[in-house]
Amino acid sequence: MNHLNYGAGRRHLAAAICALVLLVGLFAFPMVSKQSGAAEEDSELIVGVLQKPDTLNPFKMALSISYTINFLVYDTLTSVEPDLSPGDQLAESWTTDASGLVWTFNLVENAKWHDGQDVTADDVVFTYNTILENPDTCALWIDYLSNIVHPVVAIDDYTVQITTDVKKATMLTIMVPILPEHLWSEVDVDKLDKIDPWDQTAFPDGPIGSGPLILDEYDATLGWIRMLAWDEYYIDQVVVDQVLFKIFLSDTTMMEALWADDIDVAMGVPARLWTETLETDGIAGQAVKALSIFELGINCASPELRENFPKASDNLETTNLSVRQAIAMATDKDYIVNDVMEGLAEVGDSIIPTATSYWHYYVDEETRWDYQIAKANALLDAAGYVDTDGNDIRDNGTSGVDLEFSFYYRSDKTDDRSAAIDIEDSLAEIGIKATPAGISEGQMYNLWLGCQMDLFIWAWDTDVDPNFMLSTQTTDQIPQSPQDWTRWSDSFWSNATYDRMYLEQQTTVDKEERQSIILEMQALLYDQCPYVVLYYPMGLYAYTTERFTNYPDMTANAGMTPGSMWFFFEVTPVADWVDPMPPENVNAGQDQSCTVGETLSFTGEADDENDATETLTWEWEFTEPDLSSTVLDGRTVSYKFDQTGIVSVMLRVTDPGGLSGVDDLVVNVTDLAEGSGWLRGVVSDEDSVGIVGATILVSDQSRSTDVDGAYMVSLPEGSYMVNASKTGYGIASGDAIIVAGETTWVNLTLALTSGTLSGYVYDNETGASIASATVEITYGDKTKKFTTNATGFYSFIAVEAGTVIVNVTKIGYEKNVTTAEVTAGNTTVCNVNLTPVKDDSGGISAVAIAGIIAVIAIVGALAAIMMMKRRKSAEPPSPPEEPPLTS
C-alpha cells in the first residue's frame, strides 16, 4: 500500500516539475532571441516622448506633441531657424509695399508633396482662405491670421500676395501648416476638423505633406508613430531612413527603456537623474534652453474686480507694490536653481525666456531685485507694515490685516514643492506668512478662476514670437467672472501704459523698433512684480552614442532639439558615419630659394575637427624641372635639390575618412652664384645629439635642420651672424665668414629650456582612471589642451621650464586646479584626482543585487527550517479552509 502511495506522490511531483520546466522554456526562448535581432536593412531612430497626441488632424490637434509631429510633415511659409529666429522655408523671399500693409511672398520652386505633385501658390492660398472663411472649424489657426484681409491672392504659380488691414508685426511667425490643395479641397468644410488623416477616400496614399518626414503609420494603442525620410525635400535630407516616436506613460518607464537600449533618444529626462544619465557609458545628453518660464505669481486683483468673484481672497495687501517688491527681494533664486534644479535651469528675471534671446530683456544690476533680506525688511518698514499684535507677522498699520497669504503649488511637481518650501522660509524672515499647499493642476485652474490664490507657483510654455506671452498680462486678458474660461491673465494685474505698449508693438513691423518697445514692456513688468520669474528650465535630452552620432550642438542653437527637422538633418547611424570635414588650413610652408645640392627640410601643418593630428597621413610630392617627381611620406621630410630651376612641392594631408586637403609651394634652385660660398653646420643639444627642425636664420635666408640636425645654405662672400632656435630650446648664434667657392662650417648647440609634463587623471572615490577628461595647462601667455585617452593618460612636450597651472575638468566631477614645476630637459609627472559631484558611485553593481536576493532567500529558508524542525515534535496543525481573496 505504501509504495504505491509513494509512487503516486512521486509521479505527481514529476508532473508539476515538468510543467514548470515547460513554462520556463516557453518564456526563456524568446528572451534569448532578444540579442540576435534581425539585421535591420534601413536605419531607424527611436525617439521616446512623454505625451500622447490627441489627434494628428491638423485642424483639431491641441497638444504640443501633435504640433511637433505635424510640423515635421507639413511646411510653413516661414521657418523657425536653429536659433529660433524666423527664416525662409516655402517662402524664399518676401517684400512689403510702402504702406507696410501688402506683403508679397516668392515661393521656392522645387518643393514637392509626398505624392510627387509640386507645391504651388494655390496650396498656400487655399490653406489661408479656408481658415479665413471658416473661423469655427479652423478655430485652431484663426488667431495667427488676425488682421489679414480675405482673400489671399496668388499672383502667379510661385508668388502669393497677403494684405493686412493694420500693420502686422507677427507676419513672419505664422505657424500655419500649408496643406495640399489637390486633396483637402475635396473634403467638405464642416468635416475639416473631424476627418481622420488616414481616411481612405479623402487621402488614398495616407496623410500627404511636403515636409522632411512622411507620416507613415500611427498605432494609438501600442503608442508609436512611424515616419519615413522624404528624400526630395528642398532644404536638406533626413539622414536616417525611419524615425519612430515611442510614447511612454511616465518618465520612469522611458528612462528604463533608454538604459535597456530599447530607445535611442529620450526627450524630457527628469532633472534629478541628469548626472546619473551622463555618467552611463554609451549615453550622452544636452541641457537646452527651453521655451518656458516658471514663476511665483502674485494676485493683483483690484477690490472692485474681486466683487464679481464670490470666493475671492480678501487679503488686499498683495495689491501694494512694496509688498510685491519685498517678496521679489526675498526669493532666493540662486538656491532654487543650484540646489532644487541641480543647476539645470537659468535664474529668471523678465517674462520672455532667454531661449528667444533677441526679445529677452536682461535686467541690469541696479534695478535687479537681488536676494537681500535686509533691504526687503527696510522696504516693508518704510511702507508702514509693522508687527503690532506680536505674532511676528507684519500687518497693515491702519487696517491691522496680517501679511498672511494663501500659497499654492502643483502637488505632482516635486521641484515646485521644494521651491515653495524655501520661499516659505525666506518670506518668514521678512515677516510674511505663506504656508504652501499642494493641489492638482485641475484644482489650480478653479482657484485661479475663483481669484482665490494670493501666491502660486505655475509655469508657461512661451512661443517663438513674444506676442502671446506679453498678451497674458494685458488688462483685457483679465477674467471678469469665475465662468470666464477664455482669458489668460492669472495675476489680474492691470497697467494702462503696458496695454498701450502692447498694442503699439503689435503693429510695429520694423524689428529693432518692436524690440525696443518689448524690452521697455518687460522692464515695466519687472519693476511692478505681478510675477517673480523664478527660472527658465532646461529641456533635457539624452541619447545613445553607441548606435548614432553627429548630434547637433543644441546648447548653442535651442531650435535644433529632437522636435525640429534640423535635428534629423544631422543625426547619423554610427555604421555609415563619414567625416565630411577634410583637414583644414593645410600649410606646407613659404616659397623658398636654395642653391643646387642643398637639402631642405619641410614640416607640414594641418588640423581636423574630428580626428587628432596624429591620425592624419602626410604625402609630399617634389616635381623637378625635368618633370620627374618623388613622393615622401611623413609630417617632416627633407629633400636634396640636385637640379637648378623651379621645383614645385605639394603637400597632401588625408584623414581616416579618406578626405584630404592640399597646399603647395615653389623652391627656386640656383647654381652657386659667382663670388658666393657655402655655409654648413650641425645644430645639436648638450648631449651633442642632432636637433631636427631647428630654424637657422642668416641674413635674409632661413633654413631648418634635417633629421641629423645638419643645415646648408649658400651666401655671397662676407661675414654673417648665424642664429639657431627651436621651441623648447634656448637660442644660439655664431659668426661665419664666407669665402667664394669654399665651405665654412659653423656648429651650434642649443640648451634645452623646456621639459615634458605628463600624468594620469583618477576618480578619487573609486581610484579608477577617467577617460576623455580635458587637461589644460597655462604657462607664460601660452595655453595648451589635451584630452586624456582611455587609460586617463595625458602628456605635453616642449613646455617652458617654470611653474605651470594644470586645470582638469570632466562633466560630473568637480574642477581641479593644481600647479606643477617643469624643469628643463626632463619629464615631470603630475597625477590629478577628481572628486565626483555626487559622492556615491552611480549604477548598480551585480554584487548589490545578489546581496538583496541572498537576504530574501535566507529569510525564506530560515522560516522553512523552523517549521520543519518543529514538525517532528508535535502533530502539525493545518491552515484553515480559505483566506478570502478579494478585499
Partner: protein, 326 residues
C-alpha cells in the same frame, strides 16, 4: 436539472441589474470629477478661445445635468460613449476595445499560469502534508501573497530588463511593430509578456495554492473519503476520483471572483511596465480627467467580469447538480 435552469436564469437577471447599476454609477461618478478637462490645454499657447468654446459644446458641458443623463443613457444602449477628450477623433469604445485585448492577453496568461501552477503546488502540498515541499511552498506562498505587485514589478524590471538586459524593459511588442500571427511576432509578444506576467502571477499563484491546499485537506476529512478508503481503493484512486473533483468545486467559484482581483493586479503591472492595457488607460484617463473614456472602461470591465461570473455559475450548476443555490 430543471431548477438548475431557473437558477441560471435568475442569476443572469441579477447580473443584468448589476450592470445597470454600474452604468448609472458611472454617469454620476465621473461627472463629479473636480477640475476641468481643458486643464492640459492651459499651457498650450496656440489654443485659441474659439477652440475652447467649441470643445465645451462638443462634450455638452454647458447643458444641464439631466439632459446630459438622458443623452448618456441613450448612448450606452448603442455602446456609444462619445469621443474621448484626450483623443477627440476616436470613439471611446474603440480605444477601450483596442486596449482591452492586451489586458485580456495579460490576465489570460496569468490566470492560466495561476491555475496550472497554483493548483499543482496546492495539490502536492496537501498530498504531502507536513512534508518539506508543503512547508516550503507555504513559506513561498505566504511571502509572495503579502508582496505589493507594483513593488515586485519594480524589482523585476531593474534586475532583468535594465541590468541583465535579458528581457525588454516594457511595452507589449517591439516598438513600431504590430501583432501578426507569425512566429517572430508571437515570440516578440511572449518576450514582452515575461516580466508583467511574472509580477502579476506570483501573488495569485501564492493565493491559489493556499486555497487549493486548504480545500483539498478539508475534503480529505469528509466521511465519503474514509468510506472510499474503507472499500480498499488505493490512495491515488481516492485522490483522483473523490477528493479532487469535490475540492475543485469551490475552486471554480473562486476563479470567477478572483478575476476582478487579477485585473486589479494587472492595473499595477501595466503601469510599471508601460503595458498598453485597460489599467494603463484608466490611470492616464484619470489624470487627463477624460470621463467618456473612464465610463467606457468601467462599463466594459463590468461586462467582462459579470460574464466570467455567469460562466463560473453555469459550470458550477452542471458540474454538481446537488449544489443548492441560495
Amino acid at each position: 436539472m430543471r431548477n438548475g435552469k431557473i437558477l441560471i436564469a435568475r442569476k443572469a437577471f441579477n447580473s443584468f441589474i448589476t450592470l445597470l447599476m454600474v452604468v448609472v454609477m458611472n454617469f454620476f461618478l465621473f461627472r463629479v470629477i473636480p477640475g476641468d478637462p481643458l486643464m492640459n490645454l492651459r499651457n498650450n499657447t496656440r489654443v485659441s478661445d474659439e477652440y475652447k468654446e467649441q470643445f465645451i459644446h462638443d462634450f455638452g458641458l454647458d447643458q444641464p445635468i439631466y439632459v446630459q443623463f438622458l443623452k448618456y443613457i441613450e448612448n450606452v444602449f448603442t455602446l456609444n460613449f462619445g469621443n474621448a477628450i484626450s483623443e477627440p477623433l476616436r470613439p471611446a469604445m474603440d480605444i477601450i476595445l483596442d486596449n482591452m485585448v492586451w489586458t485580456l492577453i495579460l490576465t489570460g496568461t496569468s490566470s492560466i499560469l495561476m491555475i496550472v501552477i497554483g493548483m499543482s503546488i496546492g495539490i502536492l502540498a496537501a498530498w504531502k502534508r507536513g512534508g518539506a515541499f508543503d512547508t516550503g511552498s507555504m513559506a513561498f506562498s505566504l511571502f509572495f501573497y503579502a508582496m505589493p505587485t507594483f513593488w515586485f514589478a519594480m524589482m523585476l524590471i531593474v534586475i532583468f530588463a535594465t541590468e541583465l538586459k535579458w528581457t525588454p524593459s516594457g511595452g507589449a511588442l517591439e516598438y513600431g511593430t504590430r501583432f501578426e500571427f507569425t512566429w517572430i511576432s508571437i515570440k516578440d509578444m511572449l518576450s514582452h509578456l515575461v516580466l508583467p506576467a511574472t509580477a502579476l502571477t506570483i501573488g495569485s499563484i501564492a493565493a491559489f495554492s493556499l486555497i487549493m491546499r486548504g480545500s483539498l485537506i478539508d475534503v480529505m476529512t469528509e466521511e465519503y473519503i474514509t468510506t472510499a478508503r474503507a472499500k480498499g481503493m488505493t490512495e491515488r484512486k481516492v485522490l483522483k476520483d473523490h477528493a479532487l473533483p469535490n475540492a475543485m468545486l469551490p475552486m471554480v467559484a473562486l476563479i470567477a471572483i478572483d478575476i476582478a482581483f487579477v485585473v486589479g493586479g494587472a492595473f499595477q503591472a501595466e503601469v510599471v511596465f508601460d503595458y498598453p492595457g485597460i489599467g494603463w488607460l484608466t490611470v492616464k484617463a484619470t489624470i487627463d480627467k477624460d470621463f467618456p473614456l473612464l465610463e467606457a472602461a468601467f462599463f466594459l470591465i463590468a461586462v467582462v467580469v459579470i460574464i466570467a461570473n455567469l460562466i463560473a455559475d453555469v459550470l458550477l450548476v452542471y458540474m454538481d447538480p446537488r449544489v443548492k443555490m441560495e
